[in-house]
Every structure is written in C-alpha cells, then in structure tokens.
C-alpha cells in the first residue's frame, strides 16, 4: 500500500473528519460496520505457517486456509460462534483480570485520548474504552443477567460475523502498549483485552502473517528472522570484523559454549539489520572491554517473543528456550539485550511460565560484585541494569566527545517503562556517554508513546496506519529536534530501532535511531585500541 504524502497525511490527521479531530459521529458505534480495504489490515497468516504451528506440541492454531479479510466469506470453521463463546468463558475462568476489566469500566473516557492509534486515526473504535466495548458488548449479551434481559439497551450485542471482523480490525490496531492503563482509575489494561481478542481470533483461524511467521521461525530456527545456526553465527562474526576494522579490537565471541558464566540473549533483529547492528556491535565492544565470560546461543537466538502477540501457549513455548538453553549450557545466569516486549515477557511472565529457575545462580556482576537482588529468582538481568552498575563502579572508561556528533533524546519503550519500571537506568547511562535532552513530559517515562508498530504490526502493508499511530511519538521527536537540535533518538528496544527508523524517515527525517549500547560503545575507551576518528561512531565506514 502506498503511503500518502507527508502534507496529505498531516492535513488528514488534523482535519479528519474524525472524532479525534472534533467531528461528531452521527451513528451509534454498533451501527458502523468495518470495511477492509488494502492498507487497512495486515496480511493474514500463510496456510503453511499456520499448519506448521498447529502441528507443534502444546500449540493450537486451527483452521489453516487461504483467505482474505476483503472477502465476505472468511471460511470460518463449523460452529465458530460456539468456539468463540466457549473460548471466552474459559478465559473468564482463567484470568481474573479479564472478569474485572469486563465488569468495572464506568466509561469515564479518561483513556480515550491517551491512545496513539486514536490520536493518529481519529477512529472512535480506537479509543481504548471502545476497543474493550467491542468485547464487552458480547460478554454482556452472553454472560450477564442485564445483558441477557435488556440486550442492546444496556450495550449488549450478539456475536456475529461482523463483530468478529470488527475484533480483527481493532485488535490489530492496538500495540498492547498499556499507556491507557496508567490513566484508568481502575487500572483497566487494554493490553489484556487485546491479548484476549487475539487469542479468541486464533481459535477460529484468524491471525496475521507478520506475527505467525516469526513465531514459527522462532520455534524452528531459534529466532524470528529464521536465521539458521551457521547464518546467525556468520552475522555476528561479520559484526566482529566490523568492530575490529573500526577499533582495532577484536571481540572474543563464542556460540553455544558450555561452561560460559553468562548466556547473552538479544533480539535477533540486532544482528540482522541497521540500525540494530550497531547496537549489537556495541554489545560486542562492551563485553570485550570488561572481559566478560559469556556465550551467544543459536538455539535461543531470539530475545523477542512473538508468541506474546498470539496466545499464552505460544508465548510460553518460545520463551521456554531461554531457560532450557541456560540449563543445557550450564551458565550461571542470563543477560538480556535491549528489547521492549521481550522484557515484558522476561519480567512478568517468564519465571511464572517456565520457572522455577533453580538450576541458575543469583546474578552477580563478575566485574563489580554487585548482586542483582531484583533478579534474584528469575536470574535474568537487563543489559541497562548491568551497564549502569559497571559505570557506577567506574569500570568503564569513556570519552564522551566521541559522541559529540550526536545530540540525543531518549524514547522509553512501552514495556520496560510500564511493565517493568526500567526508566532511570538507561538515563543514567546516557548521562555518562552522550549529550542528551528529554522529550516533553507527557510523552516520556511511564507516559511514553508507542512507536506505533509494536506487537507485530511493523509490516509494510499497513504503513499509513503505522505512520498515523506513531505520530504522537514522532511529534515529540520533532519538537526536540526543532528546539534543541536533537539528531538521534536513542532507545532500548529492537522493534523500536526498526519502526522508529521508518517513523522518523517519514515525519522527521533529520533524526536517526540508535540503541543505548551503541552510544556506550562509541564512547568506550579500551587499551590496545587503534580507533581513529570515528566521525559517526560505529557507523563510520560500515558496509
């Protein structure tokens, strides 16, 4: 799908006509059916990917078929409605959050203008409250007394194909970023709603390829890019060569090495594409500078977890590789690279799903001796926690001037900020390595805006949607670019590095994107290095 010109989209966002832009809808939302046109939806999962996943133990992805959202007939399975309602009932019994969130909303509207999708598209069904009502209306109809008796009068409606289509449309226009949830007086979390909607849709074979293909790749090859072990190794080795040619220091690396002290897992995108590559080079330089005894794994070569965007079972199955590999290699603990949703899984789900991790040891920094008490049980430490501790103890020597070509700002990724509370560690690091400024206060820390393409939505066919959803973030970047001359947007997320690049290219092409560890590595001073003037840091001369 072609993306509209900047001027067109800029006008369209503001002038609508949309609810966000001030227009008043004339029809009740239940009377507005969804319409699928090219660009309004992500391509559906390929039949062979769904079949492969369905064949894996512990997973269920039924109803593999060829179909298109634009068709009237979605080739739903026999008895699809019962499957959905039974699935909903089962989930109401398994998740207290779902029950509470179905029952407690008072429709105060505090969440409405907090959503980046609503601000960018103006579509009322992108208000978090209405996104939840899409499901709540069906819940009322079949699971509450009032709904059964009074029906539509109390906001209940029957489960129909058009409701199902609406679910598909809007559960894939939510990035589970949880920004709305911090403003909700009851903490209603739209991420939970969206997760449930997506789980229910998978029960009848509705899913998108940009998510299911990575899930199947991660399952088979260990990473979502589908890199086979030798390719993964080659990719990292290319980076080693680049680092050597730039700095004269050749990082010592190993793969699947038993007896290493630490297993390092990061999103595979970092060893695959710019600008994540520079962050990966940053890891190599950083670990070399402190002489860390660590290994990469080709089997657990993915930090990210696309299973999180499908259902609990797939999330668990993919995540289980981390502990399985740590146990097989006999490492003491795991360090995780910069990633957003990966850290939601690691922080809030991993040990619950795949623990207890009693075969690992409580993480202790081999360089500083610091015990990471906050990861005492799950035994996985965030690279920013690890690095901040190194800096605090003076174990890294920096030459900040090596980043003098950069005026940075920092984008809090949704999940580290709102599902982990990892907010000040990256800032502490930035303070030591680069000159940087904050974006406006309503767009950072726990109020940070999503890149607009998370949860597996960073696919090209919905580029206009992504550019709209990313507008609040881009707008804040533009603000600091104009006011402070910011030319680099730093972040601690691999998806961000990919998606913010597209976003900035569209809205503020003057601003690049980098990982925090790239900036760290730019500034690190090591013995025996023959680093000339790297005018652009690690980006000088690469490729």
């Amino acid at each position: 799908m072609s993306v509209p010109k900047l001027e067109q989209l800029s006008q369209s966002v503001v002038q609508g006509p949309s609810l966000a832009a001030g227009a008043i809808p004339t029809r009740d939302w239940m009377d507005i059916p969804v319409k699928f046109t090219p660009g309004s939806y992500a391509y559906v999962a390929k039949k062979d990917k769904v079949e492969y996943l369905n064949s894996q133990s512990g997973l269920s992805f039924p109803n593999a078929r060829e179909w298109s959202p634009e068709d009237d007939d979605w080739k739903l399975p026999e008895g699809w409605k019962e499957i959905i309602l039974k699935g909903l009932q089962e989930r109401l019994g398994k998740f207290r959050s779902l029950k509470i969130f179905m029952d407690c909303c008072v429709r105060c509207g505090a969440c409405a203008d907090k959503c980046h999708f609503f601000l960018g598209t103006g579509d009322p069904k992108n208000m978090p409250v209405l996104r939840a009502e899409l499901l709540r209306s069906v819940y009322r109809n079949d699971f509450t007394l009032g709904g059964k008796i009074l029906g539509r009068m109390v906001g209940a409606r029957e489960m129909t194909v058009s409701v199902l289509k609406e679910w598909f449309m809007y559960s894939y226009q939510c990035t589970e970023c949880r920004r709305c949830s911090i403003f909700c007086p009851y903490g209603i979390d739209t991420a939970e709603i969206t997760m449930m909607l997506r789980e229910l849709l998978h029960l009848v074979g509705i899913g998108i390829n940009w998510i299911l293909e990575p899930v199947s790749n991660s399952n088979r090859t260990g990473n979502h890019m589908g890199l086979q072990p030798h390719t993964f190794k080659d990719n990292v080795e290319f980076l080693v060569e680049d680092v050597e040619s730039l700095t004269g220091v050749k990082p010592d690396i190993s793969f699947n090495r038993k007896g290493a002290e630490i297993l390092f897992i990061t999103p595979s995108a970092d060893v695959f594409a710019e600008p994540g590559l520079y962050t990966a080079m940053g890891y190599l330089l950083l670990f070399e500078a402190i002489g860390l005894d660590y290994t990469w794994s080709t089997y657990a070569s993915e930090g990210g977890n696309f299973g999180l965007f499908t259902n609990n079972e797939a999330m668990k199955k993919l995540n289980a590789k981390m502990y399985a590999e740590a146990e097989r290699l006999g490492v003491k603990y795991i360090i995780g690279g910069e990633c957003g949703h990966m850290w939601r899984v690691v922080h809030q789900y991993m040990e619950t799903m795949n623990g207890p991790a009693d075969f690992l040891e409580k993480p202790v920094s081999p360089i500083t001796g610091t015990v990471f008490e906050n990861a005492a049980s799950s035994k996985m430490v965030h690279i920013s926690e690890f690095t901040a501790d190194l800096i605090k103890h003076g174990k890294l020597k920096f030459d900040k001037s090596r980043n003098s070509h950069i005026k940075a700002t920092f984008h809090d990724s949704c999940n580290p900020a709102r599902a982990m509370g990892l907010i000040d560690e990256p800032r502490y690091i930035l303070d030591h390595v680069v000159d940087w400024v904050e974006m406006p206060e309503n767009t950072i820390r726990e109020q940070t805006f999503c890149c607009g393409s998370g949860t597996g939505l960073n696919t090209d066919e919905i580029m206009e949607l992504r550019m709209r959803a990313g507008l609040p973030r881009a707008n804040a970047v533009k603000y600091v670019h104009e006011k402070h001359g910011v030319n680099m947007l730093s972040c601690v997320c691999a998806i961000d590095r990919a998606t913010l690049t597209s976003l900035n290219d569209y809205w503020t092409p003057e601003v690049g994107v980098c990982g925090v560890t790239e900036l760290v590595a730019n500034a690190i001073v090591q013995e025996d290095e023959t680093r000339g003037e790297l005018e652009e840091g690690l980006r000088t001369m690469v490729f």
Partner: protein, 344 residues
C-alpha cells in the same frame, strides 16, 4: 435518547412509590419488605460478584509500573508507582482509592495544524469524581444517625463540619449540594464531551439520574417539606429495620417512601451494574500487585505443560551446518554413513 430513557425510568419509579405508598397497607411493602429485599439483593449480589471474581485466578503478575522500579541501589525507586513490598502496594492502593490518583494524572490531548499534538493537565473529571464520591460518602455516613440510638458523637461532629457555613435554616449541608452538583456535573460531562457521549450507555446515565433523584427527595424532606414527614416515625422505622423489629407508626409521608424506594432500587441495581467498580478497584491486578516478579516467582495455578521445540530436535535438523561452521554440538555427525552412501 439514552439519557432521556434514564429520566423516564426514574420518573416511573417515583410514580410507583408515590402512588403505591398511598394504598392502604402498602407502606409495609415500601417501608419494610422492599428495604429488606433490596438489602438482601445488595449484600448477596455484592458478595456473589466478589466471590465470582475471586474464583478466577491471577495467572500472571501484570502490574502496571507508573514509575521507576526497584533496581540498583543508586537508582531511586518510586515506591508508590512501582511497589516492591506489600506495604508499598497498600500505600499505592490507598491513594488510588482515597484520592483517585490515576484520574489526577489525566491529560487532555489536542490536535493542531502542523500537525502538532499538545497535552495539558485536565483535572475536571478528577474534581467532579471527588465531589460526587465524597459527598455521597458523607451523606451515607450522616444517615447513620437514623439507624443508631443513641447517635454516636462523631456523627454529630461530621454534621457540624458539613454544615460549617451555617447557611439557611435548617443549616445546609455542603455535601447535599455536593452530591447534586456531582450528579449534574458528571451527567453534563457525558452529554457535552463528544467522545464520552459517544461511548455512554443507558447504564451510565441511569445511575446518575437515580442518585440525583434520591438526593433531591432527601433535600426536599430536610429543607422544604419538613412538615409533610414525621421524623420521629422515620427514626423509629429505621431503628426497627436494623434491629429486625420494624414498626410503621402513623402517616410518614409519600415523599419519604419515594426516597426510600429509589434507594432500594439503587441497592438492588448496584451488584449487577458498573457501580461494582467500588469493589473492583480493590481487585485490579494491574494496581494491586507487586513489581517484584524477577525477585520472587509468581505462581500460575493452571500453568499448562508446554515444552519448547527441543534442542535435540533443533540440532538434528541443523547438525551438519553447525559442525561445518564450528558450532559445538551434542552429537557428532556420523561421517562414515555419508561415505558409505557415496560408495553405494
């Protein structure tokens, strides 16, 4: 339409109570039977709903952190926004419930030409909610005077505080005005704010109109129609109700039965409506859980047994490539087999 229906429903309820209570013998229905029934539905329904929620487990620790989590010593931990201990969770919940902290954070976003998005603090909803809820709470507490004999001293203190401005005779209570104003403000907001109007249901307008009518009938009795009712008989009935020996003396006044009937409707409606947010706010997993999930394992009672695609299976598929590129393997390649094949 939706709000109009709410008005009609409440008017119908008022008529039922007004006309009904005039029929001889019916005061017993409106004064005794319905209050007991409503209370039973309220208590039973409330407990039922909470138990129903409680029956579903909390499989994952899904706290939302609204500030810096506990991490390294030199990183300042935001104890209220990312609680690590039970005490910190209690403090967070206390402030959430007592001061509506999340609403206090509210902002208003606006789109301007450019495009440019602006955010400004917007405390109106918070203010309206505070006025409404605290006035309601105070009114409920003041009503305890009717059920308790002797009246506890602290109720008199609260009443004194509530009527501090000494306006009018009898002295107007601030919270009476507050409750009316709260209803009107919240109702108007629903009508005027375009996105809130778009999402509002009958379920949202009806309780506001109902509570407004309850407040109005109460205010009429206290300030304007004092001669129409018999306060001694009302007190006798109220004390009788809570001691399970209710007596209805002589004529109490229709306005009283209207007031009481509307309260009964509210009580019976409560457990089956969004008003249950009163209980739900205590149980919301995003707010009432500790952010210590990497330090202490949270257990999921229905954790399914799912194993990863095994390393063995992975190595079997890629062993040749792994050996070729020097990645250590668990099982070496059987090189002879290939040679044998070649020989064949």
């Amino acid at each position: 339409m939706k709000y109009a229906f709410s008005f009609l429903a409440v008017i119908a309820l008022i008529l039922i109570a007004w006309l009904g209570s005039q029929i001889p013998g019916m005061p017993y229905l409106f004064g005794i039977a319905l209050p007991y029934l409503a209370m039973m539905i309220f208590l039973g329904g409330f407990v039922y709903r909470v138990v129903q929620w409680g029956k579903s487990p909390v499989p994952f620790s899904i706290q939302t952190t609204c500030g810096q989590g506990k991490s390294l010593d030199f990183i300042k931990h935001d104890r209220l926004e990312a609680p690590d201990t039970t005490a910190e969770v209690v403090a967070r919940m206390f402030l959430e419930i007592v001061t509506f902290r999340s609403l206090f954070r509210n902002t208003k976003s606006e789109l301007h030409d450019g495009p440019k998005i602006t955010y400004e603090s917007s405390k109106w909803l918070w203010l309206f909610a505070i006025i409404f809820h605290y006035s309601f709470l105070m009114v409920v507490i003041r009503h305890m005077r009717l059920f308790l004999d002797p009246v506890p001293f602290w109720i008199a203190w609260l009443e004194f505080g509530d009527g501090l401005f000494q306006v009018g005779a009898p002295t107007w209570y601030m919270t009476d005005i507050g409750l009316l104003a709260g209803c009107v403000l919240l109702f108007s907001r629903r009508l005027i704010t375009r996105h809130v109007r778009f999402i509002s249901l009958v379920n949202d307008y009806f309780p506001l109109v109902l509570i407004f009518a309850i407040a109005v009938t109460g205010i009429l009795m206290r300030y304007f129609l004092r001669t129409e009712i018999d306060i001694v008989n009302i007190k006798q009935l109220a004390v009788g109700l809570v001691t399970f020996s209710p007596v209805i003396g002589t004529e109490i006044g229709a306005i009283f039965y209207i007031h009481l009937f509307l309260v009964c409707v509210l009580l019976a409606y409560f457990p089956f409506s969004k008003l249950m947010h009163f209980a739900g706010v205590f149980m919301s997993p995003t707010r009432n859980m500790k952010n210590n999930t990497r330090a202490v394992r949270h257990v999921n009672p229905w954790n399914p047994k799912i194993i990863p695609h095994s390393y063995g299976g992975y190595e079997d598929e890629f062993r040749e490539f792994m050996v070729d590129s020097g990645i250590p393997v668990e099982k070496e390649l059987p090189p002879k087999k290939d040679e044998e094949k070649d020989e064949e």
